[in-house]
Symmetry: C2
Subunit: 337 residues, 2 copies
């Protein structure tokens, strides 16, 4: 079975994007058109103006390279969040684990998950869903979990777009990640998703190494059994939910300085956007607005898919850039190689 | 008042160490003698052999640059831990805060701290010391706390060596940090000390940026008061103690991959050394052994200063390098400019 990560690497190469993978074509690609998937318009203009301002020595907005840190939400900001990919993983994982847990066939929330009954799963409430997620994610070392995620991604396909989830990432955002990196930025993911789920593929798909991925965490324990080897073990206990006000808290803990640019798409990113864009100096906030029902999914406000409500209200007064996916993006997903 | 960070920067320059600060002399300095403060001997040889093995393409021990991660304990490994610098900070801080807390004059553990009665403070037990540390560290934003630490470091002096604590760092370890960095390593501090205490000066003193400092943490909250600004606030509640088995746990959480080299000096570093050096491939573990009573302090095993007992027993079977500070270091501290 071909690894999706290798597929992604190949795709990016075919797309003329070796720079994302650290190839020598970086300078040349940037010199041509750094954002080919972004149509001329206010968002593209705002991005380029910000990058010019913070990287031009002597400019009033200049920011020294060590302080050039950008934070990106993942679900709905860097890749498609409908359906939630990690939930699809958990639904597949519960089936793989079921033979070892015969009681699951008759016990909620596992029965619902095994039957693919999402309504019944949702009805189990936050506690039920949490139990389901912990049971499908814990009980392994980080290395084992990484291999499990990699193997699943290799064969899973997005139900509507019929392509690997590692290719339902947003092509314009891949270009943006590459461009900020070429301007001396260190890009961090700050996601409500599980940190080790994202770390399994973020370097190959986004060019973001594991140590620049911040996310929700379950507890791990150090174990060194007699005659065994020292390992970390992922236990079924929640450690931290990296969402809403948790995002600036995690940024403070992991990065230890305030980023100068933040990218999100929902109310779960509001506090991160506020925290990043309110400090003195040239700052940048951007919201990916899902308004493209034809090429992706249209949702905001009180939608069943996600909520962009308070953050959308706050965009104008805070001078955050709101990207219309429908009007400002030439393409949504990378073409398949 | 001159900032100690500026002092450090100047000292390093005077010592012919611009490379640590990212100057262009790096390659040249390394080409001369990369470790001038390390005497010829087993430790120096082991370090140089390891670096050659992991950076020589085609060599059996070769490690690609993204995986070249090294973790360093701080207290007793990178700087002198007798007395514990952060405890000295807390003792000074309790005096500065006392006018706002009149009850402290008659309440333990604060009375003991205010009177500098370390025996009485120790007698207050883990709970009392924790209360004392939280009260002297919390109640501010990370930016405010950083400024408080910086201001204190500018005037505090080591009681025996009569120099700023930012200069009671180990000159041989500064050279080692510079050398690993020149070999493509990303160096992380993994300390039992408070993460924001170390982040206030680690970049200037060690060339290690805030995002590469892992330590013990107190909780922070995101607050955005009406009419105010969004800030993190450090609250007097313990979040995580980064010591012993907590060190590999924190490495997994923050870095997300196993480092290939670990440097420590006490039993609190044992699990980190085990975790790092037990994975397949060329790995390196080093213990700084405090055996130099004349130039620093001699201690290990059951000493009053620190305990190096289980880790020392584990060194030989695990092929960890044990550095005799007395016999293998030409100098201990950087000369004052």
């Amino acid at each position: 079975m071909t690894s999706p990560l290798i597929l992604s690497r190949r795709h990016l190469g075919l797309l003329g994007m070796p720079a994302l993978l650290g190839g020598p074509a970086k300078a040349q690609a940037v010199a041509e058109d750094p954002l080919p998937s972004w149509k001329p318009g206010p968002s593209r203009q705002a991005i380029l103006a910000f990058l010019a301002d913070v990287t031009t020595p002597g400019a009033p907005g200049y920011v020294a390279p060590p302080e050039r840190i950008a934070v990106f939400d993942n679900d709905g900001t860097l890749w498609c969040e409908i359906p939630t990919v990690q939930l699809m993983f958990a639904l597949a994982r519960v089936k793989a684990l079921a033979p070892r847990h015969p009681a699951w066939a008759t016990t909620q929330p596992f029965k619902a998950a095994l039957e693919g009954d999402e309504a019944a799963l949702a009805a189990s409430g936050a506690e039920g869903i949490s139990e389901f997620l912990l049971a499908t994610h814990a009980g392994n070392t980080p290395e084992e979990f990484n291999a499990i995620v990699t193997e699943w991604l290799a064969q899973a396909r997005h139900p509507r777009f019929r392509r690997p989830y590692t290719t339902t990432v947003y092509q314009p955002m891949l270009e943006l990640l590459r461009l900020t990196q070429a301007h001396g930025f260190r890009n961090y993911i700050v996601s409500g998703g599980g940190v080790e789920f994202i770390r399994a593929w973020s370097e190959q798909v986004y060019g973001i190494p594991p140590e620049q991925v911040i996310g929700s965490t379950i507890r791990t324990e150090f174990r060194f059994p007699h005659g065994g080897k020292p390992e970390l073990h992922r236990v079924p206990s929640l450690d931290f939910i990296d969402d809403g006000p948790g995002k600036p808290v995690a940024i403070g803990k992991f990065i230890g300085r305030r980023p100068i640019a933040a990218f999100g798409n929902s109310d779960g990113d509001l506090e991160m956007l506020q925290y990043v864009t309110s400090s003195p100096g040239r700052r940048f906030g951007l919201i990916v607005h899902h308004d493209d029902a034809a090429r992706e999914v249209a949702y905001d406000r009180q939608s069943q898919f996600g909520k962009l409500d308070r953050a959308l209200d706050q965009a104008a007064p805070n001078h955050w850039t709101v990207v219309s996916m429908k009007n400002e993006w030439n393409t949504v997903f990378p073409p398949l190689g």
